[in-house]
Homo-oligomer: 110 residues x 2
DNA sequence: ATACTTTATCGGTAATCAACGATTGAGGCT
DNA sequence: AGCCTCAATCGTTGATTACCGATAAAGTAT
C-alpha cells in the first residue's frame, strides 16, 4: 500500500499507459452484478450446498415471492452461473460449475 | 454438473439444511456490487496498473464527467477497495490491497 | 487578498432494479 | 376432458442508480 505522497509523476504515468480494457471490464462487471444481491448469493449457496434444487424448494427457503425468486434465477442463468432444466412439472436448478469458475478466475485475476 | 433428473429427493434435501447466511450474503453482495459497473472496474484496473493515481488523471482516462468519476470513487472507497488521501490540492487514490484480497477470498470461497 | 486548480457534494433527470400479485402456459393426474 | 401443480412472464409500483452541470470547499500560486 503506497505511503503518503507516493503518487507517480506525470512522466511515470505516461510511461505506463493503461491498456484499453472496455469489453473485459464490462464482462467482469456483468458477472459481478449477478452476485451483487443478497438473494442471488443465497440462491447460489443453496444450490451449492445441495447439488441441485427444484425451484419451489428455493422459494420455500427465501422470504420472497415466487415470481421474485424466478426473476433472480433468470438473472443468474443469463450470467451463466446457474443452469436449469425442466423435470416434469418442476424445474431443477444447479450451479454452472464452469460459470462459477470463470467468475472466480476473473475476480482472482484482478 | 448434475445430469438430467438428478435433483435430490425431499428426504435428502431435508437431511442437508442450508445454514442461515444472511449477513455473509449481504457482505459478498455489497463487495460484488462495488465492481458491478464497468467504470468502477476500469478505475480499479488503472489504479492497479499505476500504483497510485490522482483523481484528475483518472477522469482523463474515462469518458465520464468529473463528478461521475468522483461518485464511483466514493463507492469504491466505501466498499473498502480503494483508499484516497489529500495531496496538496489534488487527491491521490490507490487500491486497498487488503480490501481487494478480501474480495478475492470471499468470491473464491463460494 | 485574488485568482486559479482540483475535487467533493448538491440538485435534478432519466433509466434501471426489486418486489409483488395476477396471469399464462406446460405437465401430470383422475 | 377437466383439474391441479409448478414456474415463467406480465404489468405495475416505489426505490435506487447513473449521469450531468453547477456549486462549494480547500489548496496553491501570483
Amino acid at each position: 500500500m503506497p505511503k503518503r505522497n507516493q503518487c507517480l509523476t506525470e512522466h511515470e504515468q505516461r510511461a505506463r499507459p493503461v491498456p484499453d480494457t472496455g469489453s473485459a471490464d464490462a464482462a467482469i462487471a456483468a458477472l459481478a452484478w449477478a452476485i451483487a444481491h443478497p438473494a442471488r448469493v443465497r440462491i447460489l449457496r443453496i444450490l451449492l450446498a445441495r447439488k441441485a434444487c427444484v425451484c419451489g424448494e428455493l422459494v420455500d427457503q427465501m422470504p420472497l415471492a415466487q415470481s421474485t425468486v424466478s426473476q433472480h434465477l433468470k438473472i443468474l442463468k443469463e450470467a451463466g452461473l446457474v443452469q436449469g432444466e425442466i423435470d416434469g412439472p418442476k424445474v431443477c436448478y444447479w450451479v454452472d460449475a464452469d460459470g462459477l469458475a470463470r467468475l472466480k478466475e476473473i475476480v482472482g485475476g484482478l
